[in-house]
């Protein structure tokens, strides 16, 4: 089967792929009993020849299952010429660092006539390794007789490298996340212990609540901090979730919006103060009230939040005026040219927060 002389020289260089690959013809010439008939036969041959997917056929009827066909993409990928590989078993592609467990899976698939897809480190003729996404399986005749095994090879070294890099970035993000949470916990401990020794426990607890809200808001930004902007909604939700554990009291109505990471701290603190205010005086004080939180990007890079409470107990403006927490937020926003307006409406407390910039245009 392989003793016929091959008249063409192996293709070299990138131009080779532009030339018609005549290996199917030669394969057919040496396998007269296996005819590729009609239009589908022509299509098959063209596909085999022109695909950039390296393809090998091996003959299981022969001793050590030798290769009987390789296409041009295979010779380009591996650097071996057709003459060098036809008649040999495929294992010459393996080398020192090829994973024996994967090789065993291939062998098992061959024995049980299964289809298998694996990634295996293979070696080119010049010894350079590449990651081969190998897809192999049996080919049967119309009578159901096992004729060949096909193997298709695809160099996925770049994909592997990108995957490894992504994996590494993910690992770093998780380490960072763990350390950050730990640091927030240590800061919390410091404040609690200080509050205890100075006998200002309530104040310390209030500070700690704010710090934890900040921690929750930031936590959501870690995975994508490297992109330079972060998604607003997860941060807002992370801050407010502890005040609505069943998720049925606060409704979020905002568009998907990416903001500058430093907007997150102010937004996070503002949401925390509004929720605290609602627990003390408003919609979260009893079991019935609800809150709708909307945010809308404004012209000129502005950002506006509307916090609207309803269905809660009839509220009265607290005697002491604005809660001290909301006062802090108002001052905080003013420093960056924003504002917090609020109104103790009979139907429920309403607050409107505006940021002059959220990072897109500036």
């Amino acid at each position: 089967m392989t003793d016929e002389p091959h008249e063409t020289t192996p293709p070299t260089g990138s131009q080779a792929s532009m030339v018609f690959d005549d290996s199917p013809n030669r394969f057919r010439a040496s396998n007269v009993e296996q005819k590729f008939d009609g239009a589908s036969g022509v299509l098959f041959e063209q596909a085999m020849a022109q695909t950039r997917m390296a393809i090998v056929l091996a003959d299981p009827a022969q001793e050590d299952m030798p290769i009987v066909f390789v296409n041009r993409a295979f010779t380009e990928l591996t650097g071996y010429s057709e003459d060098e590989v036809v008649g040999k078993n495929c294992r010459f592609l393996q080398g020192e660092k090829s994973d024996p467990a994967v090789v065993a899976r291939i062998r098992q698939a061959l024995e049980s006539e299964d289809v298998v897809v694996v990634e295996l480190l293979n070696y080119r003729r010049d010894g350079t390794p590449f990651w081969n996404a190998l897809h192999l399986g049996p080919i049967y005749s119309t009578e159901g007789k096992l004729l060949y095994y096909f193997g298709s090879q695809w160099d996925v070294s770049d994909v592997r490298a990108a995957r490894a890099e992504e994996q590494h970035a993910k690992m770093m993000a998780r380490e960072l996340s763990h350390r950050m949470k730990n640091m927030f916990a240590v800061i919390g401990g410091l404040i609690t212990v200080t509050g205890r020794t100075k006998n200002i426990r309530e104040e310390a607890a209030e500070i700690n609540d704010r710090i934890r809200a900040l921690g929750r808001a930031f936590e959501t930004t870690l995975d994508e901090a490297s992109r330079g902007s972060v998604e607003l909604e997860p941060a807002v939700k992370a801050v407010l979730t502890p005040y609505d554990p069943d998720g049925n009291r606060i409704r979020f109505e905002g568009e998907s919006l990416r903001v500058d990471p430093n907007v997150i701290s102010t937004v996070g603190l503002a949401m925390h103060e509004l929720a605290t205010n609602a627990i003390k005086h408003g919609a979260l004080r009893e079991q019935t009230g609800e809150i709708t939180l909307k945010w809308v990007a404004q012209a000129d890079d502005g950002l506006e939040f509307v916090w609207r409470e309803s269905g809660g107990p009839t509220i009265e403006k607290p005697e002491c005026g604005v809660g001290s927490g909301l006062g802090i937020i108002d001052n905080l926003l003013k420093t960056v040219g924003g504002s917090l307006e609020h109104d103790w409406q009979p139907g429920g407390f309403v607050a409107r927060i505006s940021f002059p910039h959220h990072g897109r245009a500036s």
Partner: protein, 128 residues
């Protein structure tokens, strides 16, 4: 079974490698009228358990340098001591946390909350 009789203050073991959190947690336990046993490492926690069986425990999950609380959790399980896991590493330790199968309180949480959960577990177990 219990190291203390029904009326005595429950004894809560705290495994935590971060000193400030360990201190804060101890104060929170004491504020609830319970007794805190501080363990900054797996070894000291195991020693404390052998010395006197606690009524409940608070376990930090990730104790640095690939050390986790699993050995302590296993020992407490053998002794039927209830515990909560207090962790800031839920994503990476998810598998371990699922395997241990105890209540999880994510870090950072208020120490008062963590302490009251641990003490509640101690009382529940004592009553049964």
């Amino acid at each position: 079974m219990s190291a203390t009789n029904g009326n005595a203050a429950p004894v809560i073991l705290i495994l935590e490698d971060e000193a400030m959190i360990l201190l804060e947690m101890s104060f929170a336990i004491e504020d609830h009228g319970a007794e805190a046993i501080q363990a900054p490492s797996v070894r000291s926690a195991l020693e404390a358990i052998e010395k006197a069986r606690p009524d409940a425990a608070i376990l930090d999950v990730n104790l640095g340098r690939n050390t986790t609380c699993e050995a302590v959790a296993t020992r407490l399980g053998e002794l039927n001591v209830p515990f909560v896991l207090h962790s800031g590493d839920l994503v990476r330790q998810g598998e371990l946390i699922a395997r241990i199968g105890a209540e999880v309180i994510p870090k950072p949480s208020s120490s008062d909350h963590v302490a009251s959960r641990a003490i509640a577990l101690a009382r529940e177990t004592r009553e049964t």
